[in-house]
Symmetry: C2
Amino acid sequence: MSSLIAVDLGGTNLRVALFTRDQPPAAELIKIPTLASEGPDVVIARMIEAIHSILPKKKRGLRIGVGSPGPLDPFDGVILDTPNMPGWKNIPLCARLSEHFSCPVMLENDANLAALGEWRHGAAQGTQNLIYLTISTGIGGGVIVDGKLLRGARGLAGELGHMTVERNGPECGCGQRGHLEAIAAGPAIARKVLERIETGESSILTEMVHDEEPLTAAYVGRAARMKDRLAMEVVSEAGRHIGRHLASLVHAFNPEMIVLGGGVSRIGHPFFNAIEQALHEHVIHPMYVEDLPLVPAKLGDEAGLIGAMVMVSQA
Amino acid sequence: MSSLIAVDLGGTNLRVALFTRDQPPAAELIKIPTLASEGPDVVIARMIEAIHSILPKKKRGLRIGVGSPGPLDPFDGVILDTPNMPGWKNIPLCARLSEHFSCPVMLENDANLAALGEWRHGAAQGTQNLIYLTISTGIGGGVIVDGKLLRGARGLAGELGHMTVERNGPECGCGQRGHLEAIAAGPAIARKVLERIETGESSILTEMVHDEEPLTAAYVGRAARMKDRLAMEVVSEAGRHIGRHLASLVHAFNPEMIVLGGGVSRIGHPFFNAIEQALHEHVIHPMYVEDLPLVPAKLGDEAGLIGAMVMVSQA
């Protein structure tokens, strides 16, 4: 059997896993801080070291699959530009790893890989047409069309969070305005709560969060589950933005399932309810949402690693 | 050789064509007014009569393909609801025609068929990943993914004009708000010009359009080509809306070509320039628009008929 190495290069953590079969669970998995600010050379050296630490002695059929935030060029294996990792511009990651390990290396957008993972081994098994949305610090997406990952002409497809939903809306991490990500991702949720607290609204969040600590969407989610009114309103508003955009996406793709992943999606019920309600309100015909389950992702933080394994096992 | 009948059921005109080969031109083509207000039964009788009038004596391998405005259910052959044709709700058109002609009948969204036509025999020949947008009274779309028409789980995909680009924007024909169609299709262009004329702005359009005649986007386009300032500004603004939405679509689909069809697209240069500029300004990475031609459709009003022929010839 081949040895499949899956790498998930995140802004915060770097995960590396060894799969000895073409399905989960991983035979070995390690997680270390990325420390992206140290620059690509240091991080790639750290990645190589981590791979070595789990590499089996018999390296028969070794293949490496890497997931990274986009935009990236999967066909040439180059990370083009990742807003959350300064200095990562035009880094030929596949060539670097392939040279070192003398094996095939594939690179893909992390959200596309998470979609692939959830589709083959997670919440969306058995479907042929899927929209996967991951909502955390940013909003990413992945689409399965007729049983195949939508990659587009140059492998750049699936950036479902970078679509304009509000002209002249707030600025996005990518520099554009009014993208869904700028309006409904974690930082937008936290910002909205802070703005309303500053205008004098009360919330248990003022006591939950201590001075030194930044207010995050995770706190807001916890407060919403504790029925804090301000938190519930802000979470519902973000959910409505996402639901409205999902209606647009459903008109474009007509999927048979929607899977929501990422840290912010773990807020749970109040968030999902708002999303589902807005989705149903904004479709142009009820047939778009008949038999359209909207479900949480199943694979958690390992979705991307499992997707990377699926990618190299299919190659 | 088979006889392929293509039908284009439009809000204004009903076109019926006979193809004796699986490529253009049609062997025979007739065009009559739809008179949709007379209701589905009368129109379907008229359609049947028109088909009979061009049907060859030898009906070997007869197949009929029909294009109609959506939303419709192509798998069951049912027109669900078409805003521009009152009374057309849940009409089982395929069953009606199939019963009469005793042959296979297929139904598809007219914009999807136009995309199929342009892809196989028009502006987008040889591409594998295409976005087609048709801009006239409404805005429709069709997407080719990896050399195949994107249909989705229930054949409802490709409604690219019914996506929210401006929250709380103007009301769309479908009843939702802020869809691209409500902001940038022909009626929105005409309305914008009228609004600005009413506030006292001058334009040659006040002399071009006579009292009894409604101002249409076609007039606005003509005035824009004559360098009328108001017309040029309104056309450019609509173009910028379309270009910005195309950037969103390019992030989702990463096509290798964009084809623009429909009456409003015939405004030409000032419109295309504004679209292209906004598209380039709004992508998150230049790679999305490198080698991405934005071209006018080639097949004109016959795109849908040719697409219907392609659909049944492939079946």
